[in-house]
């Protein structure tokens, strides 16, 4: 096979694997106070923001990289990374989409994310983050009419400092674990959402993350605040070009739901998973945490994790307000040499709090999948309930599936239920589908989508279809 054909073939496997040749402004390589000041300075941040970063960095220097996770990886040299990379054309921020570098628009078009106002047709507001900066937010005006703030984190720091100051780091403090603290020190951009009291956000809000530059870590920070009685549904999607080296992605996402508010957060993660031999791919080490601060509040995480060489994350809910509800719906798929150690934490603090965990893990090829979850009901959380269901589906006999549920119940009036199953796709099922005219891949896709149905149903309509296709594509070539 000549090299061009090889390239075409590999592109077929991961269609988001192209990179865009664009001129970048980068911070000097390495991690130190000067680099942090560089980031803060280029973003024209106020002093309090720089102080936040430096405080985190002080803390970071004392922390040790954790090592308890199942998927091991070669040591990351944090001095050998770029912590800031932005397309040059962003230096003088474009005022509208029309001023954007056409190359950027082209990139997003290739990814199926039309940023231009045609996006109106889809009725979804999109914030697009390219490497370290947010490049465009659509539908801003329409949202503003209702008092909704949906903008990049950098812009929020400038324009809404009172909200950012109050809530940033309130769920994931700067003193948190290694990667979260690193993020607090060097985060570059991300999305900011504020939904005012009693406003139901009229459209899906969506952020699209794209890693483009090489040797660059991506550290986004997302903050979503749903004020009393409000509702928002938010979706993030991610892709990256194919590169031989591993790239680090360590985002922090904080959600805050006040009294009677609801946040629905969905993720379709399709970072580059590495090639068939396990070379390259993204390290997806993300901290996501939601605080149900008010009474009757609700936070629901839905994730479809198909990409990344290693996925290591536990989107969590802290159920502080009485009667608050936390949900976690997850599909995690690993194929070839991918590894995942993922799950959730449900921390019940308030009375009558409820949580539900539905996790579907699918492993194929030589991959390894771990569900790890914590349900913690405190002594004060009377009448609280948790229901957990963890199902694993194995394809072939070279992959692994593991489930480690940590259950702590310190309240006699509360109740925890845990169910788990492990199954295999049987040859008989495949034969039955083949006999009805489905080829092997169509059959696998159908069976797997059936297995994941409860989770797919949670996704917003527009994305459920995409996610279904993605589930099929990620498992291509895994049977027969």
């Amino acid at each position: 096979m000549d090299s061009r054909q090889k390239e075409i073939d590999s592109l077929k496997d991961y269609k988001y694997g192209f990179s865009t040749d664009i001129e970048n402004t980068k911070a000097p390589k390495g991690l130190n106070e000067d680099v942090i000041k560089f980031i803060s300075n280029i973003k024209k941040e106020p002093q309090w923001m720089l102080d936040f970063r430096l405080k985190a960095f002080e803390r970071f220097k004392q922390l040790k990289e954790p090592d308890w996770q199942k998927p091991k990886y070669p040591k990351i040299d944090y001095q050998d990374l770029y912590y800031y990379s932005a397309p040059k054309s962003m230096k003088d921020k474009p005022k509208s989409l029309d001023d954007l570098d056409p190359k950027l628009l082209e990139t997003y078009k290739k990814l199926g994310i039309p940023l231009q106002e045609q996006a109106r047709l889809n009725g979804i507001a999109v914030d697009a983050v390219f490497d370290s900066v947010s490049v465009a937010t659509t539908f801003k005006e329409e949202l503003t009419k209702q008092g909704i703030i949906f903008c990049s984190m950098s812009e929020a720091i400038q324009k809404h400092p009172e909200l950012v100051k109050k809530y940033l780091g309130s769920v994931i403090p700067t003193t948190d674990h290694f990667f979260a603290t690193l993020n607090s020190a060097v985060f570059t951009d991300g999305s900011f959402v504020y939904i005012p009291e009693n406003v139901k956000c009229p459209m899906e809000l969506s952020t699209y993350f794209r890693i483009n530059a090489s040797e660059t870590g991506q550290f986004e920070r997302t903050l979503i605040i749903a004020d009393k009685g409000s509702y928002v549904s938010y979706l993030e999607g991610c892709t990256a070009p194919m590169r031989d080296e591993n790239q680090l992605h360590a985002a922090n996402v904080e959600l805050i739901a006040l009294d009677d508010a609801e946040i629905k957060y969905s993720t379709v993660q399709n970072w580059y998973p590495g090639d068939k031999d396990g070379k390259g791919g993204i390290y997806n080490f993300v901290t996501k945490r939601g605080l149900c601060k008010g009474i009757n509040s609700k936070i629901s995480w839905t994730q479809v994790e198909t990409g990344s060489a290693i996925t290591w994350k536990y989107p969590s809910c802290i159920l502080k307000g009485d009667n608050s509800v936390g949900e976690f719906y997850s599909i995690a798929i690993t194929n070839n040499h991918q590894k995942a150690d993922t799950g959730t934490k449900m921390i019940h603090l308030g009375k009558n709090t409820k949580s539900k965990i539905i996790s579907k893990g699918i492993s194929a090829g030589k991959s390894d999948m771990m569900y790890r979850g914590l349900v913690d009901i405190s002594s004060k959380a009377d009448n609280s309930r948790n229901f957990t269901q963890c199902d694993s589906l194995l394809m072939g006999n070279k992959c692994g599936a593991h489930t480690i549920p940590y259950i702590k119940n310190k309240n006699l009036k509360s109740n925890i239920e845990h169910e788990a199953t492990t199954s295999k796709i049987s040859d008989e099922q495949l034969y039955y589908c083949n006999q009805r005219g489905l080829n092997q891949e169509e059959a696998v896709s159908l069976i797997v989508n059936g297995f994941c149905k409860e989770v797919l149903q949670q996704l917003p309509m527009e994305f459920a279809v995409e996610a279904q296709k993605l589930v099929g594509i990620s498992l291509e070539g895994s049977v027969g």
């Binding site: 049987s426 040859d427 008989e428 099922q429 034969y431 039955y432 589908c433 083949n434 006999q435 009805r436 005219g437 489905l438 080829n439 092997q440 169509e442 159908l446 069976i447 989508n449 059936g450 297995f451 994941c452 149905k453 409860e454």
Partner: protein
Amino acid sequence: MLSIENLKAKIDEKEILKGLNLDIKPGEVHAIMGPNGSGKSTLSNILSGKKGYEINGKVTFDGENLLELETEERAHKGIFLAFQYPMEIPGVNTNTFLKTSINAIKKARGEKELDAIEFLKLIKEKSAELKFDEKILNRQLNVGFSGGEKKKNEILQMSILNPKLSILDETDSGLDIDALRIVSEGVNSLRNKNNSFLIITHYQRLLDYIKPDFVHVLKNGQIIKSGDFELAKELEKVGYEDFN
């Protein structure tokens, strides 16, 4: 349409079919009767393309070497097997499965795929024809279905896919009279000068409703006798043991 010459099949070193010959022309209904272990299911599995058999002999379907085709390619060409034990597929809605199936076949044939509305119309029409309760189609494929429901569902799929050659593998076993009626009506409604059937059964009962053109007795891996419907009656009287 289907021609089987000297078909031999082994599984795990055990010889099951020992030189079977059979010819089915367009529009014909053939019944194969035989005792347990005579090779009836093996025959239907080999025709539909189940893997795991060591096969010798020649099988052609519309002039093409059937044994070289993948399982799904045989389905695309119009071979349908009503399973003796239909598989459960959790989470997959029966309607979705049917639509995926019919569109996979249409696509392979280069025909236009059905949209949701066309598909629902077809389903409604066919279930009414078979007096089949459509509610079952909103349930997960075969999950929690009774034995009879599973078999009826197979027949509904058959009538929707309208295959050239339908193989019914002991579809009648364990069915009550009502279900038996649905199965036979399903077959009779598809019967025309192009569609053929291979009905595998233990009992004469189903054949009373379907009236096959030919009856074959399969014993010990070979067809030992062929005849018309009268042969089935004779079998019922004498039993397999003493039939030679």
